[in-house]
Symmetry: C2
Subunit: 239 residues, 2 copies
């Protein structure tokens, strides 16, 4: 059943507007009485189409349930900014893999250094990619793609989570050595093409963020987040 | 230190020819006496450049050692053929993640169905991608990208390995439920965009190939191999 995210859900009625409405009528050629799933905040509403136009689809809500695809743990991906096409790819994959938030971070070795203004345009595109990936993979929430933050702010954000790790190519612990039993929120920090500077790694370590290694092969900066998220989702019973 | 794969290695001398030789002299601007690593079959040879021209670099071998980046287990990726750009991506990532062989398979739901002749041209390109990824990620061997085989042949190939799994979206075991302790070779079979047909899944299961699930979210056909390989490499102590 096709699924759509919308904020417009009352007790009995759900409304879809904009491009999704057009898509339902024109591309999917859905008709009155057809069933779709509306999603909001991890709840999915089995709904039946009541009225349909190019700009709006109104549905009767038939039943609701908690989305079963959401992981039991909130995993936040802190990603040092790589080239834009790689960031788009990472946002798509992190969404499929169940991340709840993606935070681009400016680190010393970032080659791509967009300014805030420039990035805000890109943010629209990245958020759209997260939305499409959330629909396609059956997520119950759309991961938020945040604006760029500094390395220092990333460290402070990670300190607030139950557990945080940073992938460091000069070694560290294995992801299996960590205790996830009480971890409600996990931060994963991945470097850019050049990885982390040594003083950044020291700073992370001193702040209680565990440096972890992903084996002896050198992973590209877009491969590392997919691997790390896959392994963490696996170790926490979510994959 | 830059690394190059070559078959031309004697006891004391190693030779690089072709594009790599040009690359060493022109792009890397290396000079006589500079050190490089030559790789063949999982052994790396620390070498010193002796003579250099646009078409040939001759090196003295200084020392040799087993490449430490090769996994302790041979993992073969059987990949139902997706669209070509996705296959290129999968070959690159599977190489970084340590796969020893990548076998494209024609299954019922493959939308892209290249014929043998057509695919042999693409095979050159795919092999080149594997080579470049092997150099970049520090592998000791270049994973072989095979020609297309049928579903039946894939099943027969997988039966020869110590352990084989197939990712099936309609569930199955978790990768952590398997016993890898005696597994010297592992086959991983991933479906195309549409996954496997039910009769294919049954056939796999009857042939002793374990159907496994990768969580409740729907992963794209290029995400599933990366996730599965990451988790398997992790569970076998190779990541």
């Amino acid at each position: 059943m096709p699924r759509f995210f919308t904020e417009c859900i009352s007790e009995n009625i759900g409304i879809i507007t904009g491009a999704d409405a057009t898509h339902i009528g024109r591309s999917l050629r859905m008709r009155l009485g057809d069933e779709i799933i509306l999603c909001r905040n991890g709840i999915e509403y089995i709904s039946r189409i009541k009225t349909i136009s190019d700009s709006e689809v109104v549905c009767d809500i038939v039943a609701s349930r908690k989305t079963e695809t959401e992981p039991s743990v909130d995993v936040v991906l802190f990603q040092a900014i790589p080239k834009l096409d790689k960031l788009e790819f990472i946002v798509q994959k992190a969404t499929e893999l169940g991340a709840c938030k993606i935070v681009p971070v400016l680190t010393k070795r970032c080659v791509s250094r967009p300014d805030e203004k420039n990035f805000s345009k890109k943010l629209d595109r990245l958020s759209k990619i997260a939305l499409e990936a959330a629909k396609q993979s059956g997520r119950g929430v759309i991961p938020r793609v945040c604006g760029i933050i500094s390395f220092n702010d990333a460290v402070e954000e990670m300190k607030k989570l139950s557990l945080s790790v940073a992938c460091y190519e000069k070694g560290g612990k294995s992801l299996s050595e960590l205790d996830y039993s009480n971890a409600k929120s996990i931060g994963v920090f991945i470097g850019s093409e050049g990885g982390f500077e040594e003083d950044e790694a020291q700073r992370l370590s001193k702040s209680g963020i565990t440096l972890i290694g992903l084996g002896s092969r050198i992973l590209r900066c877009e491969t590392a987040p997919i691997s790390a998220l896959s392994i963490i989702m696996h170790l926490t019973g979510n994959m």
